[in-house]
Amino acid sequence: MPVLIALVALVIYFEVRSTVFLSADNVTNLFIQAIIYMFLGMAEVWLLLLGEIDLSLGWLAGLSGSIAAIYTNAEFHWPWWLAFVAALAACTAIGTLWGVIVVRLRLPSFIVTLAGSFIVEGVLLYILDHVFEGGGAPVQSAVLSDLTTGNLTPTWSWIFVIAVILASAGVMIVRERARREAGLLVAPLYRIFVKLGALAILGVAMALIFNTNRGSFITIEGMPFAVPLVFALLAIYSFVLARTKFGRYMYAIGGNTEAARRAGIPVNRYRIYAFMLGGFTSGIAGLFYVSRLGGYSSSSTDSTVVLYAVAAAVIGGTSLYGGRGKMTYAIVGGIILAVIENGLVLIQISTTMVYVVTGVVLLGAVTVDSLARRSQSLLK
């Protein structure tokens, strides 16, 4: 995969230029940065798979974060879970609304969600500026704050890593054996070992890095809570996409809408589901976003986050034309975005260059996608 090569190249480059790039402190920081892009990317994958797009996801994330911060602060004092549910419900509802408009009025999702993005942005800034004095909602809930600052203990970090490796090995072996027993073609065994080996090395490396003390005055160690959380959502979404009818239909609609329709799949309903899931997932992204920022105010909003959702999904390898992509692509894309952002700041290149490099990488990713698509259609 060219994407992974690009990632390795970037990491090597930054490590050579800056000695702290691969320090435990910075890697953890980088992961927290990446996690927001990962969630946003996963949100966008639902839409890109159908050949749709939602440009409002970044602002929906802002909305979700603000709702969570506002309702858990001293004035409202809701329990954290209630505020989270309210935030996610709002994002899901708005995403669904875009879906209904796109499907019922047969409008292009690009325009509907671009308009929607302006509307959400405006409403959000109005609330932050006018309804709340001081123009902001600080994070005062410990749970909300812990989403990005809390860590597992080193022991639990190891338990998590080992559990994931064992579970993956178990799933792979069971599946492989079932295929063998059914007399179906099987991939050579060494492939399973290579995959598991890579996973084990990655897991152990991450555990070692996260478990290194990265505090200067007090001990800070362990895997951030955010890592298992993003991993859990990735596992659920990947399972749904690869192993259920629901996921199969998403790919089918993205690949050939007419074929899906003739196969009896309720295409429009599935398109609305995609917008719904996109909204919901961007709501989750928003919780982590506000947690990392420590609060959400009209001045802390950053409109570039809006398009990072698309960028994360596409850089990872999700096709803009629909039908091709995986949730893991958003993870890889999110890491690449964070590596660029984090690395360029470390080697003290002006922040404006971050945009340029991100743009170049995105352009490269879209080109690869387009070329792959062309070579596939040539084969026919």
Binding site: A178, T244, R248, Y251, A263, G323, Q376, S377, K380
Partner: protein, 270 residues
Amino acid sequence: MSEPVAVDSASADSAAGSDIGVDPSMLLSLRGVTKRFGAVQALKRVDLDVPAGQVTALIGDNGAGKSTLIKAIAGIWEPSSGEKYWMGKKVDTHTPKEASKLGIATVYQDLALCDNLDIVANMYLGYEATKFDVLDEITMEKRTQQTLRDLSVTTVSSVRQLVGTLSGGQRQSIAVARAVMRDAKLVIMDEPTAALGVTQTAQVLSLIKTLASRGIAVLVISHNLNDVFEVADRIAVMYLGTLVSSGPVGNYDMNSAVDLITTGTTSRAA
């Protein structure tokens, strides 16, 4: 319109569109099927018989009403008047779903395949096998392999190949195999060889013969008379919305078929 040269017994005495004279051994019989689109009469009292285990070729010039006819059979359009009989019994199929429940499967020119999915996923699209709501890939893969083997589709190396990487003939085969796997009794094919090269055309024609030998009725629309004479057991000719002639392939030759297609009548005897 002059008297058609070759009318076989099954469709001879049904001019009034009444249900007398329907041969119960025919899988599908149409009697007096008419379709109007506003002022345009696309089908004029068509009587057609399609027997099981045989290949019926539907030929005619552009605009003769072939596509309108197969869409009426497939339940996409309801005829303005006329009757459909399925195994001798009068049926009403108002939707494609109802038609496919009877066992009528249509393979359109565009094939309706998803290039981004593998062969197994395409074969089962909309009808996936599941175990506890999880896709049962093993069952689906085995059954796909079996179906392709039964139809002697041997050019596909792996059923896990993406359909986008297949050749035109292979894609056609997958679309047909999908219909067969769902127990189709009548497979309607719209120009199956239109975009194919020589080798791939041969593949598809042999597949059509295999279908018929397995007792499935095949109704093929084709412009290519060479193909028609190679695979068809029966021929039905349409001209300006009317079925001008139908019968066993032996009643026709290349010249009379061309005459019927272009003028709706022929003076030549085969």
